[in-house]
Amino acid sequence: MNPLLSAEGLTKTYGARIGCRDVSFDLFPGEVLAIVGESGSGKTTLLRCLSGHVAASAGRVIYTTRDGKRAALDEMSEAERRLLMRTDWGFVHQDAREGLRMGVSAGANVGERMMAVGVRHYGKIRAAAADWLSRVEIPEDRIDDSPWSYSGGMRQRLQIARNLVTSPRLVFMDEPTGGLDVSVQARLLDLIRGLVKGLGLAAVVVTHDLAVARLLSSRMMVMQQGRVIEEGLTDQILEDPQAAYSQLLVSSVLQV
C-alpha cells in the first residue's frame, strides 16, 4: 500500500536561519503522527511545509490522491493544491480565529466547504452542518450564532467540524489544545481521539505537550533545532527514549 503522505529530505530555511532540516517520513492511512518539540524546534515550520502553506527550500512532499496517484506538492498547480486543501485535507489552527470565518454563523462555517465543492441545496447543507455540530458536541440551537459568541473550546470544536465535513483523509493540527483550560482541553482531546479513530483519519499533530501526543498519536517524531532527533512508536519514545534530548523532554514532564 502506498503511504498517504511522504516527506523526502524536507528542508526550509529563512536565509541563514534553519526552519527545519532534512525531514523524511511516510505516513499511512489511519496513522496519527505527533511532532513534538519545544519552541523553536521547527515543528510548526515543518507542519506548514507539509500542508502546502509554505514552499519548502529543498526536498519534497508527496501525497497520494483519492484515485491512487502520487503527486508532489510543488509540482501541482495552485488550483490543484488549493482544492486539495479544501477537500482532502483539514487544518486545525491553534487559534480558532485563523481557521474560521468569524463574521458568519457556525452553520455557514461548517457548510462552506460543501458550498465550495458545488453543493447547491440549502436544506442539505444545513442538515449536514447540524449533524456535524452535534458530532462535535455543540448544541444544535447555536447553529445560527456567530463564532464570536462561542467559548474558546467551542470555537475549536467548530473548527474541527468545519474541517471534517468534506471527509478529508488527512488532518493537520497545530497545537489543537493550546491555550484552553485543562477541562476544556480534556474534552477536546477525547473528541479528537474519537473522531480520528472513528473516521480512520490520518493526522499530523504538532504539540509541545507530551500528554497530548500520548493520547492522540501512535507514532512520534522529536524535533530539536530543526532536526528530527528521534522517531518511533509513541509509547516507545515516552517510555524508553534513546536520544539525550528526548530523555530530557520526557523527564521534564510534571507528574500530577
Binding site: 512508536l233 516507545q236 524508553d240 539525550a244
Partner: protein, 233 residues
C-alpha cells in the same frame, strides 16, 4: 505445536544521558522460543527486568541488539527491526498485552476500554460492547460500573478491566504482566481460567507471576532471566 515467538540473542541496557551517561544493563544474550498453546513464565531477579522483556516483545522498549520474531500468519516480523507501522499492525492483530497497571484514559467508560481491541479489528461497536460486558461480568465487575470510567475504581477493579481488555479479542501471542496482583482468590481463579481457555484456543502466553503457586498452575515452562548487574530498571 508451532512456534509463535522466537527471541534471538536479545540484549537490553539503558543509557541515561541526563544522569551522567550511566549505563544500566538489563540482560544480555537472551534466547527463547514459545509455541502456540504454551504458557511460559518469565522469572528472575525481582524488579522490572521481567516487565522489560514483555515491553521489548511488545515494542514499547527498544532492544539494544538481537531479534524478537513474532509469527504473523505465514510471515515472521522482527519487532526490533520492523518499522513502526508493522509493529502497530502486530499489536492490532497478533500481540495482546495486559500491563501491570491499567493506563486510564479519563472519561472513557470501562466497557468501551474493553471493547476497543474488537472495534479496532472492525467489529460492530454494539456487538463489541456486548462482548465486553460479558467479560466484565465474568470478572465480577458489577453492571453499575460498566459505563463509568475506571478512574475511581479500586486497584483490583482497574486491573480486572485491564484483563478483560486483554482477553476480549483472540491474540496468538498474549503478554501478561502480574495479571493476578491485587486480586482476591476468587478473581485470581477466574483469571487463571481465562488463561487456560486462551491456551486452548491456541494462544501462546508469556507471563510474569509474582506468586510461585500461580506460576506453576498457569505455566508449563520458564524463561529465566540472567542476573545482570543490579536489578535493572
Amino acid at each position: 505445536m508451532e512456534p509463535v515467538l522466537r527471541i534471538d540473542a536479545l540484549a537490553k541496557h539503558f543509557l541515561l544521558h541526563q544522569q551522567a551517561g550511566v549505563r544500566i544493563p538489563v540482560f544480555d544474550g537472551l534466547s527463547a522460543q514459545v509455541n502456540a498453546g504454551e504458557a511460559v513464565a518469565v522469572t528472575g531477579a525481582s524488579g522490572r527486568g521481567k516487565s522489560s522483556l514483555l515491553k521489548l516483545i511488545y515494542g514499547t522498549y527498544r532492544a539494544t541488539s538481537g531479534a524478537i520474531r513474532v509469527r504473523n500468519g505465514e510471515e515472521w516480523v522482527d519487532v526490533v527491526a520492523a518499522p513502526p507501522r508493522d509493529v502497530l499492525a502486530l499489536r492490532k492483530s497478533t500481540i495482546g498485552y495486559v500491563t501491570q497497571f491499567l493506563r486510564v484514559i479519563p472519561r472513557v467508560p470501562a466497557e468501551t476500554i474493553v471493547a476497543e481491541p474488537l472495534i479496532d479489528r472492525g467489529m460492530d461497536p454494539e456487538a463489541a460492547i456486548c462482548r465486553a460486558r460479558l467479560l466484565l461480568d465474568r470478572l465480577n465487575i458489577p453492571e453499575r460500573l460498566w459505563h463509568l470510567s475506571p478512574m475511581t475504581f479500586s486497584g483490583g477493579e482497574q486491573q480486572r478491566v485491564n484483563i478483560a481488555r486483554g482477553f476480549a479479542a483472540h491474540f496468538p501471542l498474549l503478554l501478561l504482566d502480574e495479571p493476578t496482583a491485587s486480586l482476591d482468590a476468587a478473581n485470581r481463579q477466574r483469571v487463571l481460567d481465562l488463561i487456560a481457555e486462551a491456551r486452548q484456543q491456541g494462544s501462546a502466553i508469556v507471563a510474569v507471576f509474582h506468586d510461585e503457586e500461580e506460576r506453576r498452575l498457569a505455566c508449563s515452562r520458564e524463561i529465566p532471566l540472567d542476573r545482570g548487574e543490579g536489578s535493572g530498571p
